[in-house]
Symmetry: C2
Subunit: 477 residues, 2 copies
């Protein structure tokens, strides 16, 4: 008999029909009720066995984690929370799971423990939900941009250019590290390496995707990026995925509009398409909250936070206005900030961003027009001579979720900036070419995909929203 | 005025309305007709200027490659091949392109030359078409699997495991290559490296995605993979994208069914959604063919080849049957094959695959049940003791486009195989765990994305179907 996915059994199988279901045993109660999950949904189907009709030895193998196949009739369920269940006629064990050895017994496991068995954690409700939501968000990203006529561009992972300056890079090499080839004067002879030059893992596809933008108008990347930074925090990964749209003929305001529309679309898509998984995670977060002291509990539940994003306009605030608000704020006057805000030009810290978003406005905030000194070389100089057309989108609980800017499209201005920053022109000749031949105003931004998944799932540690996290001293599996 | 994309002007703008169009000048004929392209479609919009109404100096800047913005009225076109054109009222130069310096003048450029200016080649018709088709195929991949309830899993790019054995790997390191840390006994001290161990770039996400398959049932990867192999051919890249679905409860036949359905879906999607780009590439290929001697010309046009895939059932042929056919074939008897087929067990070469697909069957072929000696350790042993449940899909002109298998789900059989091949168990403990706890029959395959794009676009060199190709001695941009 052809297998029916559990999501389809629960959501439409007719009472009285015969079905085959395959999946993993979550629990087996009273030698009678098997809860089976196949990952198609967070919900289990209940398979009811008449233990008199089955060999006892056979039933003993129905343990948590075992993989089974059952044939039987769909019948109305008397149990709570499910409309139908399966009356088992045949039961086959596809793969045993020795209860003495299988680590995922039906009890609460810590997230730390589950990270050590990342190859099995997708079998828990929490990680099943996270991965299904992660998939929905991947698809939503592509759908959003495809519907708008954007083109996805695969920018290179291995790069010979290290001009972006977004962070410390990993080296990629084919050298035998035991005997790195040397030139006659004793330096490393990169001509002997695979690519004939020094190469690294990309920190951003932005510069490369701009080349496609100057031909196809509206494009985006969605790929892995890397940072060789020794940040052992709940917010950093050495390998993470980033989405970077880049649009010709967009100025800063268009860029802000697109960023806001995009974030609302993703959150709305999750609310619409991941109801059961979000309900589970919402409940999970509320349970966790109960264990915390009153003043540390979240003001809103996960579902409320998501709905809040969809329902509210993001505040748009210039850096200059933000400095004014922060300078006159209570925590600044009472010296509660670690970094006090005195002068225009100060780099904003996470504490300041959180104050603006969580205390002052209680809404997502888009900060724009930052001092040029604290932003990247490719951002467009504003006419005031002091600021660049940069923007950051700040989310409650997460901080910066998107960073972007209008790009400097004027050849002379960009060239001066490149020289001022001491970037060798041979690294960026092709990027400068875009301004030499048919330049146009254009803008773009970057969304850290895992930060977004953290926000949508409510997970506190970024290592729990990517299947196999890479962090300092950890590249297991 | 809000910009209208050229695709929308050509496909629906009402005669008499005012529009703004922005894009790059392709040609400017007779000081009157500007062909503008914005990448939203391969088609240009014609903007007609009355040269008496514009300053001559201004019009001189309307050169091939310049970026311009025009406002004007949509009028019926008298020219061939276009229904509407724009009567220009205002014309702004956004970015000049000095005709003495801009490398993309309106003439035929060689693909080799265009590879050297990969940052500009998206502005040609050929590469615009390829990148738009590449995007359509990316979206089609996600849509195909999403519609079936598969989940996309991001498997790691940096891996501490090198057990897959699909090819030579690139090293990833944070060491200063000038002074690699050593242990007391003089060996490289990988404990001092970023991840505390040796790490490489992945050659395949298969082993990792199997962990998700054993929880969510139907999953797929779509990400970059790497080979540090010194293959300077038109078919190899050091960095390429791969799609690897993995399905619980699928046996080999289910796997073949899915592969065939998937390939037909992708080709059908391109035929349906990329008509103009495919028509251009079809024509381009026919023009190229005309320059070839009669006997080297393609038997079918690009569009015919694509339609042929959609319309025909793939031949399914066991390795054993294939050997029989090859052994008795004309080229074997006449010793035209470079590698003659004598005995069962021979590894098939590209010449044999092409004979089966292009000469014998004249159809795509799925070969299955290969000798176990020539296939990977994780493939399921058949009961005959000689073969494994492997399959390769062979396409005309391309050869192997998909490779896959049913996986060995039996712990003891797999463990013996791992030991036999001398793979250290500490590298694969987690992969073996999947067979220890709740194992299930499962299958999967890998599709090289660039090979697929080559087939769909008809491009002969794989370096022309990825924006920034990485090959030996080349990591430019």
């Amino acid at each position: 008999m052809k297998r029916t996915k559990i999501i389809d059994v629960l959501d439409g199988a007719k009472v009285g029909t015969q079905v085959n279901v395959k999946g993993w045993v979550r629990t087996f109660r009273n030698n009678q009720f098997i809860a089976i999950n196949d990952g198609s949904t967070i919900n289990n189907v209940q398979a009811v066995v008449d233990f008199n009709s089955f060999d006892e030895k056979h039933l003993k193998r129905v343990t948590t984690g075992a993989c089974i196949s059952v044939n039987g009739e769909v019948v109305e369920s008397l149990g709570k929370g499910q409309s139908v269940e399966i009356k088992v006629a045949e039961l086959e064990i596809l793969g045993d799971a020795d209860p003495e050895k299988f680590p995922l017994q039906p009890k609460k496991h810590s997230l730390e423990f589950l990270r050590e068995i990342a190859h099995l954690r997708a079998r828990t409700n929490t990680f099943g939900a996270i991965y299904r939501i992660r998939h929905a968000m991947i698809f939503a990203v592509h759908k959003f941009f495809t519907d708008k006529g954007f083109f996805n561009i695969h920018t290179p992972i291995i790069t010979g250019s290290d001009a972006e300056g977004a962070g410390e890079m990993f080296k990629v090499t084919n050298f035998d590290l035991d005997s790195v080839p040397r030139t006659e004067d004793g330096r490393i002879d990169y001509k002997e390496d695979f690519f004939g030059k020094e190469t690294n893992l990309t920190v951003s596809g932005q510069l490369e995707v701009e080349t496609a933008c100057m031909a196809l108008s509206e494009v985006y990347t969605f790929g892995p990026t890397f940072r060789a930074e020794n940040s052992n925090t709940s917010r950093h990964l050495a390998e993470f995925w980033m989405i970077e749209p880049e649009m010709a003929f967009y100025e800063l305001e268009d860029n802000m509009n697109l960023a806001e529309e995009f974030l609302k679309y993703l959150v709305g898509y999750a609310l619409e398409n991941c109801k059961d998984d979000l309900a589970f995670l919402d409940n999970r977060a509320q349970e966790e909250d109960k264990a915390k002291p009153q003043n540390e509990r979240a003001e809103m539940t996960l579902l409320e936070r998501l709905q809040f994003i969809v329902d509210n306009e993001f505040v748009r605030l210039s850096y200059t206005e933000a400095i004014d608000i922060l300078r006159n704020s209570k925590p600044n006057k009472k010296k509660k900030f670690q970094y006090l805000i005195n002068d225009w030009g100060a780099d904003l810290q996470s504490e300041h961003e959180r104050f603006l978003v969580e205390k002052h406005f209680k809404k997502p905030v888009i900060l724009f027009n930052y001092p040029k000194e604290i932003k990247a070389f490719y951002m467009r100089h504003n006419d005031d001579g002091k600021t660049v057309a940069a923007m950051d989108v700040l989310f409650p609980g997460i901080g910066e979720i998107i960073g972007g800017s209008q790009r400097e499209e004027r050849y002379d201005v960009l060239k001066a900036k490149v020289e001022e920053q001491g970037i060798p022109e041979e690294d960026l000749w092709w990027y400068l070419d875009l301004r030499k031949f048919g330049s146009a105003p254009h803008s773009g931004f970057g969304l850290g995909f895992e930060r977004m998944i953290q926000f949508v799932t409510g997970m506190g540690n970024i290592r729990d929203v990517i299947p196999f996290p890479r962090t300092p001293d950890n590249a297991e599996f």
